[in-house]
Amino acid sequence: MTTMEYLPVALGPANLLAILTGVAVGLVVGLLPGLTANLGVALLLPLTYRLDPVPALLLLTSLYTAAIYGGTFSAVLLKTPGTSASAPTAIEGFALTERGEPDAALRIATLASVIGGAASGLALLVLSPPLARLALKFGPAESFMLALSGLTVLAALAADDWPKGLLAGAAGLLLSTVGLDLESGTPRFTFGVQALQGGIGFVPAVIGLFSISQALVLCEEPNRAVQTASRAAGAWRWVPSPREIRLVAPTLVRSSVIGILVGIVPGAGADIGAWVSYNEARRTARDPGAFGRGSLVGIAAAEAGNNAVTGGSLVPLLTLGIPGSATAAVLLGALVLHGLVPGPTLFREQAAVVYPVLWGFLVANLAMGLVGLLLGRALVPMARLPRGALVPVVFVLGLVGSYALSGSVWDVYVMLAFGLLGYGMQKTGFHPAALAVGLILGPLAETGLRQSVTLARGSVLVYILERPIALTLALVAAASLASAARLKRRSAAPPGAPASGGGREA
């Protein structure tokens, strides 16, 4: 079958329902300050256990892209970005809201999010297969270097400073070794606890690290009202005028490309995509003075940039098994849960699953705009909920989600332990995403290292580094670190930027 022939599969009733559900839930998750895309994906992961792989993955990827877009609503209307990726939108969008033009901000943000997301979906379809062919040349040494470089880059970017990120990532690697060693049958770091012999389940760990820790953050200021009333007034117009489209068109193209490239770099998330695109738009604007006072171009840049990251971050996830963002790390767990092994053979052996998902992702980005237009005004009052009201929602869904996997209360305890750990990490600058990625990439790295040691006749380091792809990966990791540091400096928020209501989309 050709790539095109999988499009009708993506448009099947069950898949369309999954897309629309993912989009609707994603919009709510993105809209609510404090709920992030990775939290939403982690919470819905248990719901997909009994679904077929295609609708399951469509549900989660649709949620991912819609959650990034959903942050726009609270950013524009309340100056509280639903996710940190919407922070630049809050600057420009709220200025327009104050001027009584929230509809202008929302319609441009919707257009930009759809264009950016759809462009990244196309990039996924076009760029993923060639990268997958390259991935076929991967052996144990390459797998080991890949896991290590992915971890190093994400660990370095996820935390405020790289030693803390690396420490969290290394702790994740070590935790991934807990349990019965399948090769020798020896229990490792189980301390005689029977339940630990199966290892630490990554689903309860991820729910704990992302969902429960965020619920504890919400508990800190439970009655903090975001705002009491929307400033929207008068008739709302949702479709951009031709003049507005002409104004923002060049920015949409440039920011989509920037977002896709940022997304492909493992570890550079939607917030970096948004800030880099916004700064680039400001740098090249004819009237830079309009920025900060309600610039439609600024909104277009940020929203196209952050949504373009979503598809970009799925490219290394699907082709190499490296999550391009914290949410992609949770999606990696979903792939594994449904028996898909990201990397060399995915596009060949699982084409019937992968291509419908890629087409569906593209459809999801279009559906997101339509659902956003239809539900936007209806969703707006939800952003006025007090944070405390969201706490039992996250706790109960977390408890049920971790229990549902194996019907074991042990997994609930694991989730609670990781929740407390994640909260402590958030409070002290150790980003939980690095720990989660270490936990998820650990088995891949261990298998690669052990097979490399077996294959190497002499020094394992020489064996790994004399292989061109492994050496290239080591160099790419070093270069990524350097460029990521530069990106991070460039993406530094200008003075007066609002604090995100949500967690960072690492």
């Binding site: 719901l47 009994r50 030693p163 803390k164 690396l166 420490l167 990532g169 290394a170 702790a171 690697l173 070590l174 070794t177 060693d181 090769e183 020798s184 020896t186 490792r188 770091f189 429960i212 504890l216 953050v217 508990c219 800190e220 439970p222 009655n223 909920l385 007090p386 405390g388 009201a389 706490v391 039992p392 929602v393 706790f395 109960v396 869904l397 408890l399 049920v400 229990y403 549902a404 019907g407 074991s408 209360v409 042990w410 609930v412 305890y413 609670l416 929740g419 407390l420 909260y423 409070k427 002290t428 600058g429 150790f430 650990g442 790295a445 261990e446 290292l449 052990r450 040691v453 077996t454």
Partner: protein, 152 residues
Amino acid sequence: MPRFDVVVAALVLLGSVPAWVAAGRFPGTASLFPRFSLVLLIGAAASVLLRAVLAGGRARGHPPPAPDARQANRRRLGRALASFGVVCGAVEAARGVGFFPAAVALAMALAWVLRIEARRQYAALVTGLLVLVWVVFVLGLGVPLAGWRQGI
């Protein structure tokens, strides 16, 4: 927060010693990756420790945070930890009374701990949530939430 970083890094370094010894007892290549991870962990912890010590030196002489801010921070932390305690209690209670009664008790206890003001909104949201859980997880997906009483 250099002081906290020093504590964390020191604890990690101390904990690495018995972990290294334990890993040495794993047969064949089973010890390889745990020890590799430990090398990374020790290196990162040493870097965190060094940076924290240097940052601590630079920060000396800076004014300490205002007592009001410290107290507000403590209150926020206390609320979060109390909520966590309530959730742990609910998990234990669920083993005795079942999931749904424990979830209702959890919501009521959280409303008290968090001093929720919008009680009506809160009650409606919790009711909707529990109905959603019952419909989606119990009826739809057949998750045996009733089996929670049997424990592990």
